[in-house]
């Protein structure tokens, strides 16, 4: 059964209007800056918020369609929801939290508890069954919340992730487990990961929201190689230049130009990986690179085993270099440098 929404809702000044669908077995990650509408989208799908226009469908079943006066309450939607703040019932033990949904749907106490134990074991937190939620760590609470959602055997899974609050070790463990459980889950899963890396690891498809609108949908590979907005480009760490293509030259809005090996005509976006740019202290001669420009270093930030160099100039660019290169070239803030990139490393594609 697929889950899809095409419609809009207004919450105060904020306006969400999207068209998104998730197929069975698909893990769809929703990315976007704070306030883009990710949580609002999840609330609308869960039935905690009614659409103003459009419809939510689960397979052939209409869950919300204001034009036809249809609204299925969250109780009847059979969706598993994992909230960012877990929302475990504080006065119930872990096992009773997981059994809660089964009890609410009519299972007797003994069967519900037995099923709850099974799910807790499956998620590797069986030994926590008798604890109260306040005795759990963030990672444990998230697994219990996931067990609680999955125990009802939902038609689709909605998951707002809180990993930002977890320490690095727990985070790695939770991510590993999550991939496994999402893989085993057969229905559509819509997750809001805390960072793009997680989306790239978990998702089969990524939807990017900005200011309540879908700005890009695609596979992780498409999103990373062809970002459509400055936000997405920053998210995946790409340099992005909007401009107009003339032959293989892209005239960048705001000045300058880049040469791409293969550019379509008209309005385009030219994307360039930070690691594909070379830094020189003097104007390079005899270089095969067709893009050579000057820039001023504005920032130097360590990033893993590399240094991320921010530059300003006609074509502002982020460049990744090794620590050795920074020392050898004596790169420092305010220093004038030459940058070069091969035309084959510049990807130009039609602007949306």
């Amino acid at each position: 059964m697929s889950l899809d929404v095409a419609g809009g809702v207004r919450v105060g000044e904020f306006d969400l209007d999207v068209s998104i669908d998730a197929a069975p077995g698909e893990v769809l990650a929703v990315l976007g800056p704070n306030g883009a509408g990710k949580s609002t989208l999840l609330r609308a799908l869960a039935g905690l918020l009614a659409l103003d226009t459009g419809a939510v469908r689960l397979g052939s079943h209409v869950l919300d369609d204001p034009a036809r006066g249809v609204f299925v309450a969250p109780q009847q939607r059979r969706l598993g929801v994992v909230f960012q703040d877990h929302r475990l019932v504080p006065h119930l033990r872990v096992v009773d939290n997981v059994a809660f949904g089964l009890r609410a749907r009519g299972a007797d106490a003994r069967n519900a508890r037995a099923a709850a134990h099974t799910w807790l074991d499956r998620l590797g937190v069986g030994e926590l069954a008798r604890r109260h939620p306040r005795q759990l760590s963030g990672g444990q609470a998230q697994r219990v919340a996931l067990a609680r959602a999955l125990a009802c055997e939902p038609e689709a899974l909605l998951m707002d992730e809180p990993l930002a609050a977890l320490d690095v070790q727990t985070r790695a463990e939770v991510q590993g487990g999550l991939r496994e459980h999402l893989g085993a889950y057969g229905g559509p899963a819509l997750i809001v990961p805390p960072d793009p890396i997680e989306a790239l690891l978990l998702a089969s498809r990524i939807v990017v929201l900005e200011r309540g609108r879908v700005v890009q949908v695609g596979s992780p590979a498409e999103i990373t190689s062809r970002p459509l907005t400055p936000y997405v480009a920053r998210l995946v760490g790409m340099n992005l230049y909007p401009g107009t293509a003339d032959g293989d030259t892209v005239r960048v809005d705001g000045g300058g130009s880049v040469v791409a090996a293969d550019a379509p005509g008209g309005r385009v976006l030219a994307a360039l990986r930070p690691s594909a740019i070379t830094v020189h202290t003097e104007q390079p001669h005899g270089s095969s690179a067709r893009n050579i420009w000057t820039a001023t270093i504005t920032s130097l930030v360590p990033l893993g085993d590399r240094i991320r160099v921010g530059t300003s100039g006609e074509l502002p660019a982020t460049v990744d270099v090794t620590a050795a290169a920074v020392a050898e070239l004596e790169l420092a803030l305010g220093r004038q440098v030459w940058l070069s990139a091969k035309a084959t490393d510049v990807t130009a594609y039609p602007a949306p």
Binding site: Q75, V89, R105, R148
Partner: protein
């Protein structure tokens, strides 16, 4: 530290000291006098009187029943006041507040005119119960509910207002009906406030005097409670009255100790 603060002019203002001392002394002296003037030597004789034990039993039973009724009707009412967004809810809240500000004796007059034999609902009540409410045991229970239930409602309403709605949403996505959410999630979440409100309500019901006297009468063996007995004793034998205050004072102290943490917490967070 203290020296430094005094030096910066932030110490205790001298002008505040005398009124504060007089204030606490004024509150202390009468309470102290009750203990000092209790006829300890005749305590046994006074408490051997059958009427005293009957009044004490009626007081405890009626106040517990009034508290139970207040819980059954007051907790759902508190939820409505806290959560419903409909026109007229402000009016409903005002109605709940009336008994808090009305002198209890006027409450008794009001009960008479509402539920008495010739009251607005007198005839249907007589038909339904086969008896009149005034001067009956049920009458004193209802008089106590009238005066004490608002304490419970106001306490619990505040808790419903600030309780975590997110957990209720989660319960809804798990398929729990509204009633199930109310009984299994919302009410347990505010249980500390319900307990505190019930204790306040019970203490108020136990000490109820004005409305009980008017609506219940002061009939020995059926509607005479400890407070109304104190009135009778005070009129005929005033020296014995302090002895009858002991159980009520004991309750007051227990309530204070029981709720102290809660009040301190409230004061600290507000």
């Amino acid at each position: 530290m203290t020296r430094a603060r005094r030096g910066t002019g932030l110490g205790t203002p001298l002008v505040a000291v005398p009124p504060a001392v007089v204030g606490v002394a004024f509150l202390l002296v009468p309470t102290l006098a009750l203990l000092v003037r209790t006829p300890w030597d005749r305590l046994g004789a006074i408490y051997r009187d059958e009427h005293v034990w009957t009044a004490l039993r009626i007081s405890i039973e009626s106040s517990l029943e009034a508290t139970a009724l207040s819980l059954v009707f007051g907790v759902p009412l508190a939820w409505m006041l806290a959560r419903l967004r409909v026109p007229g809810i402000g009016l409903a809240r005002a109605i709940v507040t009336i008994p808090l500000v009305l002198p209890p004796v006027i409450g008794g007059v009001a009960l008479f005119n509402g539920f008495g034999r010739n009251g607005l609902l007198g005839r249907p009540i007589h038909t339904a119960l086969g008896q009149d409410l005034p001067f009956s045991y049920l009458g004193i229970v209802l008089a106590q509910v009238f005066v004490a239930m608002p304490f419970l409602v106001i306490t619990v309403e505040g808790a419903f207002r600030i309780s975590d709605r997110g957990i209720e949403e989660a319960a809804a996505t798990l398929g729990a009906s509204r009633s199930r959410i109310f009984l299994r999630v919302t009410v347990p979440l505010v249980m500390p406030a319900i307990v505190a409100g019930a204790v306040l309500c019970w203490a108020r019901a136990l000490g109820e005097f004005g409305a009980t006297l008017l609506f219940g009468g002061n009939v020995r063996g059926s509607t005479q409670t400890l407070p109304t007995l104190v009135l009778s004793v005070f009129q005929t034998n005033p020296a014995d009255a302090p002895a009858l205050a002991l159980p009520l004072m004991l309750v007051a102290v227990l309530v204070l100790v029981g709720l102290r943490d809660r009040w301190l917490r409230t004061a600290a967070t507000s």
